[in-house]
Symmetry: C2
Subunit: 450 residues, 2 copies
């Protein structure tokens, strides 16, 4: 037995719990296992946990990557039964009761899959190059880089059409991420940076939000959709409902009947679950999620669980699907962690295994923020909007940030952004070549000084 990959002790007789993924679900599972006498291994491709709901703020230069990310090792510093390993899980071999990490088999007694999802392009993976999605810190930095370079290019561009294309931003998808990105982009162009440019008037930038359905935020009540639309229009975002992106190219996007010339397309439209689920050989839904039992286990394998965005689960409470949001993953993780803990404790005490009670999802509400100081929220069924909703949104997000240092950093950055409309993290890192058409016979006058 060589389980060096997870650094679990292969000479130990302790039960072994392997958790794949250090996001909301995986972290909640390990925390709920507490101090039980077991070998717990968390394996993730990254060395950090990301607070995904605020990732769009990294993409829009309001927050630093490390404000919303915490090293997984740091989270479990004091939970000594947890081992953290950096590595990629390639497949699960249910028959062997092993997962393959970086080519090596690792045995498990219990397995919890919490590998999440990634953005999907509905079979047009070639669109990704021109329309990056937003799932990782690297994605956030890449979107930030492209957005900031677009304004730099517009400042240098002498061809009016090319300049217009630099200043047009198209966000595909009207869910929370799409609304949040569109609102923040518009605010940057209109409030944060106009004074920093001498030749281009950034307030002429257009932000266009495309949504295929007939309303924004389809997962929220209709009132919230209407409020979000209103807030976005106040921020001068052009919202196009019932409009699909049918082609995405380097020079623009086909939105319904219209081709919009733009170099800035952001993808917030679709997700697909981690491909790891395929290796289970069980039923998947069309987004690639594993269809799980009421106790979140894989059919026929009661010691293997799937939680969070990777699972197609139903809540025992109302038979509704558990949504792919942070609280769904956290509640699933806590449920599975407690269940495993109870079973192991019963076994150790020589008691009968406890019955498994089906998983119930408790919906605490939903919210999305629009710009610097507005939001829409549905909290325990109460629908609020505007600044009050933004305060609620800000408070809840700070509360759930994983460590105190992140809470303080985020609070400070928001206060700053709110007071001064300024964004502190406006660095273009990595490739910063500007591809500008530069007709030799043109010169350009400064914009009128305001």
């Amino acid at each position: 037995m060589r389980d060096v990959v997870l650094m679990l002790d292969s000479t130990s007789n302790k039960p072994r719990i392997v958790i794949v993924g250090g996001g909301f679900g995986g972290v909640a599972t390990a925390k709920a296992l507490g101090d039980i006498d077991a070998e717990i291994g968390i394996v993730d491709k990254r060395n950090y946990n990301v607070f995904q709901p605020l990732l769009y703020q990294v993409a829009t230069a309001a927050l630093n990557p490390s404000d919303i990310a915490t090293p997984i090792r740091r989270i479990f510093r004091h939970q000594k039964n947890v081992n953290v390993a950096l590595g990629e899980v390639e497949r699960v071999a249910l028959d062997e009761q092993q997962v393959y990490v970086e080519g090596e088999p690792v045995h498990y007694d219990y397995l919890v899959l919490a590998a999440g999802c990634n953005h999907a392009y509905f079979g047009h993976e070639e669109w990704e190059e021109f329309a990056p999605g937003l799932k990782t810190i690297e994605d956030g930095s890449e979107i930030r880089r492209r957005m900031l370079l677009a304004f730099e290019a517009a400042e240098l561009e002498t061809d009016p059409e090319a300049c217009r294309s630099c200043l047009t931003f198209v966000v595909v998808g009207g869910g929370p991420t799409g609304c949040e990105l569109a609102g923040a982009l518009s605010e940057i162009a209109h409030k944060s940076i106009p004074e920093d440019f001498r030749h281009v008037d950034t307030t002429t930038a257009r932000v266009i939000l495309l949504e295929g359905g007939d309303r924004l935020l389809p997962s929220m009540p209709e009132k919230c959709s209407r409020d979000a639309l209103k807030h976005l229009e106040e921020l001068k975002v052009e919202v196009r409902l019932k409009t699909y992106a049918s082609d995405v190219r380097k020079d623009g996007v086909q939105a319904g009947d219209e081709f919009i010339p733009t170099k800035n397309i952001l993808w917030a439209a679709g997700v697909a679950a981690s491909p790891l689920g395929k290796s289970l050989g069980v039923e998947l839904d069309k987004a690639g999620r594993v269809v799980v039992e009421p106790d979140l286990s894989v059919p026929g394998h009661p010691n293997v669980f799937v939680i969070g965005d990777q699972a197609a689960a139903q809540s025992a409470k109302n038979g509704q699907p558990v949504p792919g949001v942070a609280q769904g993953a956290m509640q699933g993780g806590t449920y599975v962690g407690r269940l495993i803990r109870a079973e192991l404790q019963a076994k150790e005490a020589g008691h009968q295994q406890p019955n498994r009670k089906a998983f119930s999802y408790f919906d605490k509400g939903n919210m999305a923020t629009i710009g610097r100081s507005k939001a829409v929220a549905d909290i325990f069924g109460i629908k609020i909007k505007g600044f009050i909703a933004w305060l609620a949104w800000a408070g809840i997000h700070i509360l759930f940030l994983i460590n105190f240092r992140n809470k303080v950093a985020v609070f400070m950055n928001w206060t700053w952004t709110y007071l001064f409309s300024d964004r502190g993290a406006r660095l273009i890192l990595g490739n910063n070549r500007i591809d500008v058409k530069r007709p030799p016979d043109m010169t350009r006058k400064a914009k009128p000084k305001g």
Copy 2:
């Protein structure tokens, strides 16, 4: 005339001042020009100004990139005569009175070169791959990535020799950057992260500092060198004086007679001025710096100045060379900016051109920090060490950070690091593959729990 690159107004008759580089020197020049009626263009490869003295703290995960960087546009938001352009200056054509930016000529009336320097490998450029230097934010992130991955690899490594190599850090060069990096690395291994790892004891890490001369910090008084050595030894850094790195390879470094097996080599040994100086066709010193007149101008070209790390200048005060530090660049920039301003104002008023007074460098002192709470400093000739010196160092650095937001962010991060020995920015971004030898027959027991 097509000067679109810098977005200077080619139809204007205003005098045109082109500044190459948005570091300490370039920013100080533009600020000193004030509100004169001229077209001022700053061109830089990056869109941000970096506070270089704190770059090693990004490399050692204590600060975020954006804590020490400010967009150049942001700095000149309210100085409306300044145009900022993102682009690379390839060469200066003194005869044509033009610089070439991204292949296009840009005319100047006054030119200020402040393009700085980069790390140099004394003719062994092939060493760079294995021994990254520290000049840009990207360098800082890369060193941080390598350092954090080294500890992750050590945790997974089962071969004791390979593990030892992961936990050995060699810093080449005993100047301020080398001392600061070595102290911080040792502190990370001994204080910040031991509890985060289950299998490897990070306190067994070795940090070795190589210095070719007979003392550390050769630019500071001997007492400071002795104090720095003492502080570093307290932090368990192995300092080797009179020891050159004669070979740098993937698997280690030849240090004098000894080959040190290590995967972690950091380069803080040598710098060379920007290659832009070569295109001037005037005398350079052996580090590639332009030998300038007492007024910092290029011999024979009184309207072209070179300042900061790119210049080999002498102070009129004592005939000593102006050191390649932040205050040298800032004082040079302020001097040149005022000089140009006075000349343009005299010209506009129809007065005679004022005489140029030679540049005098005023040395306010030097300091280097060693670890979390110690430093050595030589301030106006007074030599201090320990915590008092660290407080002075911290205060002065916060004071000179370019904007208020950065000041607050850095102050908070330092307070946190000081109180908890914790480092917040421990994210491995980009490539995080671990290359671990994994002998199939080995297992590994956890380290004794403390």
